[in-house]
């Protein structure tokens, strides 16, 4: 049996009295593209944060490539080691980069942190910027001078500096204009084809998930209500909530509030 990149078992998270995650289990295979779909309060972002060590699970087990990551690392060496497995790209393009840092220096810093030799980081930074199609004239620009789409490209490039095996996309395209969203989704598709990276795509947008991910996990109120191959979940949803979500996507002939499935 092959070891999955991410294996989460019986994850539970309490915030005070609030149960944010309730017995959540799922897997992301190496090179796979899995989506967690849900609305606000579903626990999808909490799950993502636990995976990258930004939150601590109350109970349950997180395994990454067979290693136990259930508790956040405390030593900086362990932190750097984990950085090589999972990276994250957040939602808000306006806060995802240090406002004082040029794109190039942000990339150089991330490359150095991942242990790349000092004499190569300049060359590698340009390669990363090319990979996400950031034109060279803006390599020295500060985030404030860039558009939302360009910032999100830079955030993706920075996350790829450590050549991680998986990328967590936490609503990474939700705040972008429709035309820019398509550009970034295409870019992510290309990167996956080139590098074989795995994606865990956290989103509320079922239309995008349907296009982007091979497998989908539907969450509601901290629980997984349905999961499986995207196609079968979208075409033959089993759970009432999945059906409701699907019926809520506006599309030609759609009438709000009425179930069309």
């Amino acid at each position: 049996m092959t070891i999955p990149l991410i294996k989460v078992s019986q994850l539970t998270k309490h915030f005070g009295n609030l149960l944010a995650l309730d017995d959540v289990s799922f897997e992301v295979p190496h090179g796979g593209s899995v989506a967690i779909v849900g609305e606000s309060g579903s626990g999808k972002t909490t799950a993502a944060k636990i995976l990258v060590g930004l939150e601590r699970a109350t109970s349950g087990r997180v395994e990454v490539d067979g290693m136990d990551w259930s508790t956040p690392s405390t030593s900086s060496r362990a932190r750097r080691e984990r950085a090589r497995y999972l990276q994250i790209v957040f939602q808000d393009p306006y806060s995802s980069l240090d406002p004082r840092q040029s794109i190039k220096s942000a990339l150089r810093e991330a490359l150095l942190a991942s242990g790349k030799p000092r004499d190569q980081v300049d060359k590698l930074a340009v390669e990363l910027a090319d990979l996400v199609a950031l034109p060279s004239r803006i390599h020295d620009a500060r985030p404030a001078q860039l558009s939302g789409g360009q910032r999100q490209r830079a955030a993706i490039a920075r996350a790829l500096a450590a050549q991680p095996k998986g990328l967590i996309l936490d609503e990474s395209v939700a705040a972008l204009d429709v035309s820019i969203q398509a550009q970034i989704l295409n870019l992510l598709t290309d990167i996956r084809e080139q590098t074989g990276i795995a994606y865990l795509f956290v989103s509320h947008d079922l239309a995008v998930v349907r296009y982007f991910s091979d497998e989908v996990i539907v969450m509601k109120g901290g629980r997984v209500v349905e999961s499986g191959k995207t196609e079968s979940v979208m075409n033959q949803p089993q759970h009432e909530y999945t059906k409701l979500l699907l019926a809520s996507i506006p599309r030609p002939g759609w009438v709000p509030g009425k179930r069309t499935i």
Partner: protein, 324 residues
């Protein structure tokens, strides 16, 4: 007679001490009871246009053209008349209900404030009406909710309260600025259904501003597509899918993953959405348009009628979309 007639609207805003035009030559009409959708990306000027109709232009900006409400130019209204217009003839709902409702006052106070102070209702009359409208927007136990603070309600509930506040009186026109963008999809669906239902039963007209073309097409009669501060296409909502003629409208629709399709790659529009500041001598969209020719870069396309649509594109007749 049109309810709203916008004629050659232009708005110049103050940026770095100089006035720059961000809305160019915007003209359209809304009939009583009609639902008009204005769609576009960031910087298209859709929200500014909507706010101008409510008489809310940015500070120190200069407005040109006319906006007539029932044949009366709102820019020439006295402040008393403008107050009457805003408090009893139009209603407005915003993207973020939490930012539009005073957090330290109870829901009941918020609901009755307008009709008591501006329309001279008695408090008890206003409160009993408030209970009715809260029931109408699907809020259970309205008596209790009147005593709640905004922080005790979810975003979807607050947006319902926002809508209810506009139903105490009989507005002729509802101005909705991305009213469901901050809400979850299932909540969006039910809130939109509510707006649609109330609009139809009360015969209200609506101008609905959104970035979501599918949503606008589902709840509106007609769609205006804006780009860089101009209207580039106006068409019946039922024609949006399949019969739009402007390359930008087509590209926006194609950029979204199709609900039933299994495309390998999305058809992205290259470059950034332009704002109204970035106008050129020709068509502002030309730099991103795959159909652009020389004339598109030199001459500004005029709006012209083709079938049931009006389109501002030099190439609107000669692009054969069925072959794309």
């Amino acid at each position: 007679m049109s309810l709203i007639k916008v004629d050659s609207l232009s708005i110049d805003v103050l940026i770095d001490g100089a006035h720059s035009r961000v809305i160019h030559e915007v003209s359209f009409e809304v009939e009583p009871g009609e639902a008009l959708g204005i769609v576009g990306e960031s910087g298209s000027g859709k929200s500014l246009t909507l706010r101008a109709i409510a008489g809310l232009t940015p500070p120190e900006s200069v407005m040109g053209g006319r906006i007539d409400f029932n044949d009366f130019d709102i820019t020439e209204m006295t402040s008393d008349r403008l107050l009457e217009y805003r408090s009893s003839q139009i209603a407005m709902i915003f993207q973020d209900p939490r930012a539009a409702i005073n957090p330290v006052r109870k829901i009941g106070d918020f609901l009755v404030e307008n009709v008591v102070t501006n329309l001279g209702w008695s408090r008890s009359q206003a409160r009993s009406r408030a209970v009715e409208v809260l029931t109408e927007v699907g809020i259970t136990n309205p008596e209790k909710q009147l005593r709640a603070f905004p922080s005790e309600l979810s975003g979807g509930m607050l947006q319902r309260v926002m809508i209810a506040s506009n139903l105490l009186y009989q507005p002729d026109l509802l101005l909705a600025d991305e009213p469901t963008t901050a809400l979850d999809v299932t909540t969006q669906s039910s809130v939109m259904a509510l707006i649609d239902d109330l609009r139809v039963t009360r015969g209200m007209a609506m101008i609905f501003v959104t970035h979501n073309l599918e949503l606008a097409a589902a709840v509106c009669d007609r769609i205006l597509v804006m780009y860089a501060g101009r209207i580039i296409e106006s068409l019946p909502a039922r024609n949006l899918h399949g019969h739009s003629r402007h390359p930008y409208t087509r590209a926006l629709l194609n950029a979204r993953p199709q609900a039933e399709g299994h495309e390998k790659r999305l058809v992205a529009i290259p470059g950034q959405p332009a704002s109204g500041l970035e106008w050129t001598t020709g068509c502002t969209y030309a730099s991103r348009c795959s159909f652009a020719q020389e004339i598109c870069r030199t001459d500004l396309p005029e709006m012209r009628k083709i079938g049931t649509s009006e389109v501002a594109c030099h190439r609107a007749d000669d692009i054969r979309w069925d072959k794309q």
